[in-house]
């Protein structure tokens, strides 16, 4: 007689193995554990709640359908994150094809203002609580173009190498480097701007 799994206390590996054999409640437990993380990654990329919910759910459906491909080389959460990133990239590409060329894209092609920007001290951490700082960084991320934001997310949060980012985004390593450089400089500028605004408000 097969041993019964105590879903809430079982490890991800046990749940994944059970789900691979068709155990839907095991998969439900995995969804319950990691749904916020998957949703958060989708939201960070598409910046729209409704789309992020849809994409995260689509990722879970794909995860279920391809569960047998999961070999445990990374954690289950990382594997799921990769799936949702791929879906977001597909969606953003589709949107981009529909939209006309953005100002951001033109700026990126010409080098943007970031190249000439003086070097800054972006650290707005003084007198800021961590939660507040996170909100500020998120606000700054939201102001980046999708290409800059995506490359920054993939590099800083997912810790992917240039080569892998290039593969995922369907561009050259040189383009990744260029986008990452401008994204960081833009972030430095936005964060320094937030710091200046705060100082002015205090006066």
């Amino acid at each position: 007689m097969p041993s019964k799994i105590d879903y809430p206390t079982a490890g991800d590996e046990v749940l994944v193995k059970a789900a691979q054999k068709g155990d839907m409640p095991a998969f439900e437990e995995l969804v319950s554990r990691h749904r916020d993380k998957i949703y958060a990654r989708a939201f960070s990329m598409v910046r729209n709640e409704e789309d992020a919910v849809d994409l995260s759910q689509e990722a879970w459906v794909k995860g279920w359908q391809r569960l047998n491909q999961f070999q445990g080389e990374s954690s289950f959460a990382t594997w799921m994150t990769r799936i949702v990133i791929n879906l977001c990239l597909d969606q953003l590409r589709k949107q981009k094809r529909v939209k006309s060329e953005s100002i951001d894209q033109m700026e990126e092609d010409s080098g943007g203002v970031e190249r000439q920007m003086p070097v800054l001290n972006p650290n707005p951490t003084e007198n800021l609580e961590r939660g507040e700082l996170r909100v500020r960084i998120d606000k700054a991320l939201a102001q980046l173009s999708y290409e800059h934001r995506t490359v920054l997310i993939l590099h800083e949060f997912e810790e992917l190498e240039y080569k892998l980012i290039a593969k995922k985004m369907g561009c050259s390593i040189g383009t990744v480097m260029s986008r990452l450089f401008y994204a960081r400089r833009k972030m430095a500028s936005l964060l320094a701007g937030l710091k200046r605004e705060e100082l002015q408000t205090e006066k």
Partner: protein, 164 residues
């Protein structure tokens, strides 16, 4: 400092340079204040962003969120039920059965104009069977004919999409 150098400074920060290039850029950062300032700004920004991702929580109740996923899974499975993998013997015999059927059709169409294929086949003998290439080679000395049978390989896996 030109753009190429700026990008090299960033690649150095991200450990993306070869050892000789990394040594060269390290020296540049030590000796050139402008390169050092760019390096420090990029480093500080990277650290700020890396350690401070906003954590978000889904507003949808757990049960509702899951029920939507479950419904999507079920409707996808109804629309395209998982193809049960055929047994090995079926997969191996399928190309041969196909060949026999084709031969039968050809014979019935061309009738007496050609000699029965079985004559040729019986005079042939297998000289090579290469499972890696999915080919079997037959040779008939009396007819002076060599036939290479190439069978299609089973590709049950979905397109290679790597997530790990």
């Amino acid at each position: 400092m030109n753009n190429a150098t700026q990008l090299k400074v960033m690649s150095y920060l991200d450990n993306e340079l070869s050892a000789p290039d990394a040594r060269q850029v390290a020296a540049l950062i030590t000796n050139d204040p402008e390169a050092r300032a760019v390096y420090n700004e990029l480093k500080e920004t990277r650290e700020l962003v890396r350690g401070n991702e906003l954590s978000l929580t889904l507003k949808e109740p757990k049960d509702f969120y899951w029920s939507q996923i479950q419904r999507k899974i079920e409707s996808a499975e109804k629309a395209a039920p998982r193809r049960a993998s055929a047994p090995l013997w079926v997969r191996l015999l399928a190309p041969i059965a196909g060949a026999i059927a084709l031969a039968a059709v050809l014979l019935s169409i061309q009738g007496p104009q050609i000699q029965p294929l079985t004559t040729h086949v019986s005079a042939m003998h297998e000289i090579e069977n290469n499972p890696e290439m999915a080919t079997i080679t037959f040779r008939s000395e009396s007819e002076g004919v060599t036939v290479v049978w190439v069978s299609s390989r089973e590709t049950a896996q979905e397109p290679a999409e790597q997530f790990e």
